[in-house]
Symmetry: D2
Subunit: 244 residues, 4 copies
């Protein structure tokens, strides 16, 4: 059965900034969807902030196995209720893949508990993503690094919890490093933050990046494990003090 991937995009820059529209005329979500096109392991849908229910009704979320999230300028416009529902779906097992400037989006800061802030610089500089977890499935099909000719730079400190699985560390021409591929578990779900993807550079069309997106979707796919049950529980062993 195909993995149900939903790509959510704020879809603001590509409609309002000329340099972003030039690169992603149909929106970054459309470019990201291309990574999965024609691959029958995936069934892909897109959604954007200005859609009904901000693109993610309960029904849509319930039908999503892995949610990609691109956002930049309008984090504050995302309803708190939507952020809470995304968080709950992750705890229930949905995969979540926030991209690039989504590092400070509401769902990820709720799930990680830190500020997730960083330093940045837009200067068309070279980025090289080094694989630091060579046997990791998110690195399948890659060489020792992926090079991007021009990207926005992000720099440390990146105020995140220590990743459960650190897959990529970026080198930037301007002198910075950055933890660019960070895997986490929350509840029964998985989160993979992936750094590249600035709206004015054609990063989302790069074959290795698209490979990583597919790998991340597979890695973050829900498992067939029992829902978590909480609350008062009788003893499993004879217990003198137990009166029911």
């Amino acid at each position: 059965m195909a993995l149900r991937v939903t790509i959510w995009n704020e879809f603001h820059d590509e409609r309002h900034k000329e340099d972003a529209r030039a690169v992603y005329p149909d929106g970054i979500h459309a470019a990201l969807a291309q990574a999965f096109a024609g691959d029958d392991r995936f069934q892909v849908a897109t959604a954007t902030l200005d859609d009904a229910d901000q693109g993610l009704s309960d029904a849509r979320l319930a039908e999503t196995d892995v949610l990609f999230w691109w956002a930049h300028h309008r984090h504050a416009d995302v309803a708190d209720d939507l952020a809470a529902r995304v968080q709950q779906r992750v705890l229930d097992g949905m995969g979540f893949v926030p991209l690039h400037s989504a590092h400070v989006s509401k769902p990820i800061t709720r799930l990680l508990g830190a500020s997730c802030q960083l330093s940045w610089r837009v200067a068309a500089e070279r980025e090289r993503l080094w694989v630091v977890a060579p046997g990791h499935s998110i690195a399948e099909g890659l060489g020792p690094y992926v090079e991007l000719a021009e990207e926005e730079a992000y720099g440390e400190p990146f105020d995140i919890p220590t990743p459960d699985e650190l897959v990529f560390v970026s080198w930037f021409q301007g002198g910075d490093v950055f933890r660019s591929g960070c895997g986490y578990r929350r509840g029964r779900g998985r989160i993979f933050y992936f750094r590249p993807g600035h709206e004015t550079y054609p990063t989302c069309y790069v074959p290795e990046v698209q490979q990583i997106l597919r790998n991340a979707a597979l890695w973050a796919a829900p498992t067939d494990t029992a829902p978590l049950e909480f609350g008062r529980r009788p003893p499993l062993e004879p217990l003198p003090g137990w009166t029911g």
Copy 2:
């Protein structure tokens, strides 16, 4: 210079439940404070939910190096703003030690990003906290385990992020295990969740427990590291594309 420890307590059960008052007539915060009494490495203050500013004004938080937090029935009464201020202080370097039923208090769920729920049972059963990180400073002065004659049982699944440092795993008479001592880093601060401490058992008077509380305070103490700075940052290397 002494470490400034603030012990915050909801202080509800001990005033309204006879069985809790019998064990902790002056409140659990008073019993916890005894762990540090007469030890000049620490300077201890207490605060409770019904104090002005819910016990934790900005000034008080600013003067706290490590904050202990006991709570049970009135999590919802804690102001969202207070939870946010505690979170921010942790990110800025303050230590935070939530105890027992504080596992679902607002500050910890904000900092950890998961539900932090679990299973439980009050049946005066025996608990044995095994040290699973034998060289860890939070285990200093202990033997291979600490035994408590009667405690509330907590059971897995405990819906928390994977601890950065897992120090104790509990065995319960009724058949459960539990990750009872869990260390995390968030921002420049540290969090140590410690499980025992039910309001109707004299756990907080147990010498080994008091030793653990002191160890936890020392472990969670702030470091003398640089505040984090974020935002736009010029390159550190010559960069053709940089125009300032």
Copy 3:
């Protein structure tokens, strides 16, 4: 393509101890192989210590994707060279699943770097393996715990490195807990230590245990990632000081 699983067994107790032969007349390797029988995701072979090349020639190792290893009394008889070859294959990407008393076998202590010692007791006691990583693929198909009616007990401290992924924690009737399912990465390969499987109890026939063995094999399967290359490397950026 089927995953090539090799089950290696010391095959001593079942030939020399009556109580072990009664439970595993064809050897523990034969019982373990049943977990994969009839499942075309797997292609299974067995090997034992007294076979030629101690059961694992270079050719056999090269054709193994995931190696299971059961051993008890004859760790010292395993050739250092074989232990070194197993370690190297793991670094190159092979999965490795040491079981039960293999905790002090040569390959695992080489790979983990610690003594891997523990406490133990054979008293037919009840074991309950709690899932502490509920969304983990090694827990697929299980409930919140797996119960074994009679097993040898292992107890903490278990002198291992902190697991990269802790999946199971055991409760024992006699008062012990134990980290019973421990995942590690080394090089491009993965290791999963699984505790149960004493030679005088029918653990290896338990359906949930067999489910875990299959899950572990899939989790430890090699990835299609690039071999690691080391050594002197020219710069990737123009470098004044580089003379080749």
Copy 4:
């Protein structure tokens, strides 16, 4: 009581290579010792490979709280027995701080279980060590990064286990990144691998590097925890099947 630091050096390059002698005429161990000179928190001794007992008799090891280890060309000359004794001392609680080209020394590969290989290049290039664990005690007193004007470059993949605590990530002028400050626990002891320190560059005299060495010694200091005991252990709870 002062922390007993022993600095062990292979002491080959500084005696046989002109460019190394020019920078470290008395040996790298002497330069490293300067980091602790005049600081009464530490009591420092040095030892070298050509000393009696290769510098580390049982008595000397027993009197060492934290062992620094610099080595390059003569790893193979270190006795297997010495490597085994260092490993055992770490498991028993001693701190161990291998530096730079000691990444493939016998004690560290025994303790980490992987090849610990990497890529390298000597081209007098700029290194910038970014702090990626800002509240970590090994980063005390530092700014967001430490810059070294000229160093040998190391590059990923660095074939190590995932660090328990990753403190520094290096940026290199030639296009590489590297995990340069890696903390591990083994047994009751701690290990901190620190990358810089090539024999032909004056890295060991840099004040921030010396600060890191002091911080690392304090971090790796033994704890006052109980020795680990293993073996057959009676039950802690009444157990019908137990016959002693």
